[in-house]
């Protein structure tokens, strides 16, 4: 009992416990669920959304939100593949340009919402449409291929039996968590998200902190889009469609408050993991795949509910 209560006070407990329970249940139904192939497939599948989710975690802790991440990921993939294929740019230059587009999109999001005060929800929803539109204008609706061979081998490589996308994701989680917990920048992010006015009085340049989070999120969206491009071996215009919802669901399940100031990158990792476990688990147990979507919705709402309950019991 005492042990259980101690677990309850760990911030990530709200996700860790159901994560273990779900894993166990699926394992009992079908032991191949925890086979190395199945686990590797799960980790690979969550990597792309995961890369963006690390940025979105920072952004939502600081009190913002970015709905355009999926579209920006798609746009960056198309821009870099277009530059490499049609304009003949070398791989490095093409990727750098793709990344630059992502950072720029993030900067625009940040300036519009922080500097001009248009609500982030609206500003980034606008960017969602703009980026997707530019994407189709550039590729005229057709996939761009082939992409350079060197990029192809990179996308197909299986470091640690996984993928480069997952390695990047894992690194970002570790770095992202360190930055939040252990650097002055992270502290300023939490402070700004907790109460902008208090942070400003403390001498923090809150505008800069907020915009930096938008820029980083844009950059990570670009990274995710290009990672998927290299794995698919084609500049697919549909890259990133609907990602924003998965990203936000993962971040919220992971314990980030929509009001800002609370959450961790590790939490987001666990949040994404639980979504993936349920999706894969339902496949392994042979349930109609459309139930996955239902399950994600239920999990997200209950995760937030459990978190609220946990906070309440802690204070009294």
């Amino acid at each position: 009992m005492k042990f259980l209560r101690k677990i309850w006070t760990i911030p990530e407990a709200g996700i860790l416990v159901p994560l273990l329970v779900f894993t166990l249940v699926f394992y009992c139904i079908n032991p191949t669920f925890l086979g190395s192939n199945s686990v590797a497939a799960m980790l690979r599948a969550m990597a792309f959304v995961g890369v963006i989710a690390v940025g979105q975690t920072w952004l939502m802790i600081v009190g913002g939100i970015d709905l355009s991440v999926g579209s920006v990921a798609g746009l960056c993939a198309i821009v870099s593949s277009w530059l490499m294929k049609v304009q003949g740019w070398p791989m490095e230059a093409g990727l750098a340009a793709g990344l630059a587009v992502g950072l720029l999109a993030g900067l625009i999001n940040g300036l519009i919402s922080v500097h001009f005060g248009i609500p982030a929800f609206i500003a980034t929803l606008g960017m969602l449409y703009v980026a997707r539109g530019l994407n189709y204008l550039l590729c005229k609706g057709y996939p761009i291929y082939p992409i350079p061979d060197s990029l192809k081998t990179l996308g197909r490589a299986e470091p640690l039996g996984l993928s480069w996308a997952f390695v990047v994701f894992a690194l970002l989680v570790v770095i992202g968590d360190f930055c939040l917990r252990r650097t002055t920048w992270g502290r300023m992010v939490y402070a700004t998200g907790g109460n902008v006015e208090v942070a400003r009085i403390a001498g923090i340049d809150t505008t800069k902190v907020q915009i930096s989070c938008y820029v980083l999120t844009g950059g990570m969206a670009a990274l995710a889009g290009m990672l998927l491009m290299s794995q698919l071996n084609v500049g697919q215009p549909e890259i990133g469609v609907g990602w924003e919802l998965d990203v936000i669901a993962g971040v919220v399940i992971g314990g980030v408050s929509l009001f800002g100031g609370v959450g961790t990158a590790i939490g987001t990792f666990l949040g994404l993991l639980i979504m993936q476990v349920v999706r894969s688990g339902l496949v392994v147990t042979g349930v109609n795949t459309h139930w996955q979507t239902v399950a994600v919705g239920v999990i997200m709402v209950s995760a937030v509910g459990v978190d609220l309950l946990r906070r309440r019991t802690k204070i009294s």
Partner: protein, 504 residues
Amino acid sequence: MRRISKTFPGVRALSEVTIQVKQNNIHALIGENGAGKSTLMKILDGVYPAGSFEGQILLRDRVVHLSSPFDARKQGIGYVPQEISVIEGLTVAENIFVGLWNEGGGGIVSFKKLFARAAELLDSMKLQLDPHRQVVTLNASQRQLVMIARALATRPSVLILDEATACLTLDETQNLFRVVHHLRELGLTTIFITHKMSELFEIADHATVLRDGTVAAEFERAQFDEHEIVAAMVGRKIDNFYPARDSAIGDQEVFRVENLTVPHPHLANRNVVEGVSFSVRRGEILGLGGLVGSGRSETVNALYGRLPHSGRVFVEGREIAVRTPREAKASGLGLLTEDRKLDGLLFNFSIQENVTLHDLSQISRWRVLDRARETACAQHYLERLSIRAPSVRTPVANLSGGNKQKVVLAKVLFPKPRVLFLDEPTKGVDVGAKNEIYKLMMSLAAEGIALVVISSELPELLALCDRFMVLARGRIADQFTRAEANEQRLMLAATSGANKPLTN
């Protein structure tokens, strides 16, 4: 109320409290924050229903069971809560009879009747309010009167006022007291919760002091003695409630502002602060007097870079620009804001994270936080300010009002400011913590920090400061030294019009 006990999970809030309120009396209930005053009153108001506590409530020697505030209302108990909660979009009359708009019932409200009833009620209470007025146009005091009228709408025999004067100015408080006196003449019994000793002396017939959920002492009006009452509240005698100055004021001028003007945030061609100039020396405490709205808060907030302004600002003889709090802080200024809930504390942070926020460079190297160092730094302030908390890692949300305020003070002190603006440093703080904050201010002055203090509690301001500057309508109305200072002079200046020539 007889032998009332109430237990919350883990805390015994009240134990065997018995209070007896005589009819037609003004009965004061005093005590530090957390002493159990509000809990007791919530039991009397039925917020904590019968059965959730032990003991009995007797009204005119008859045991009553109150299961809800609505029940309490029917039994003749009117409760005015601490926070003013009016509906801004409605008129005075609609607010007074909120929920009881219709005497007869049915879904259609007769506004003619409603206004007539309101006018009659206000008239009988001698409240000078127009029932047709929109509540949104009323000031804090008038809104408080609306709240009281609402409690009186059901013609109660007992009225509970829970810190009714907390957000009123002196004038408004006097007005409220006149109403309370008039109600007593009409035969009403009033239970009056307050933190302010002066109010107790002014209107109470009888006082009950609560401490840690028990009755610590009872006083009849004839026995009122400030020292005795304070001692009963804190459980020990505080010899020097206002500590004496034991340090000399330096000669060196640390801070000077010339011709500070702050434009009105919404109205063009109007200033909330106009042509204010002053200076503070090393180790000096300057008291900034004036009524709420006189431009006191705006002055210090502008000087800390939170409001646009014009004028020249000097720190230690060097002219500085304070366009943002960041620049102000870098120049050695510090600001304790008036409302710690609004912009004083980060409630998602622990004590140590709050304390160190104003200067992360002290606890980091290459921008990486050194948490052992952070804990050590915060621990130092925890001890220096005697913040009572299990550890520096405790979330600030769990602290009492006084300890929260001390954390805000620690926060502001952490970057070691040379000039400190304190806007209502003891607002909503219990007596014991007040005394500790006063001592801290004295020791800061002794260290050579220049302090500018705003306080609505006149005795506090007069006891602590070396020099006074009184603002009225955004201009300096009077300036005087400690030797020349008294309450009358300060109030006279504060209530003077802007037409009065400047005595500068």
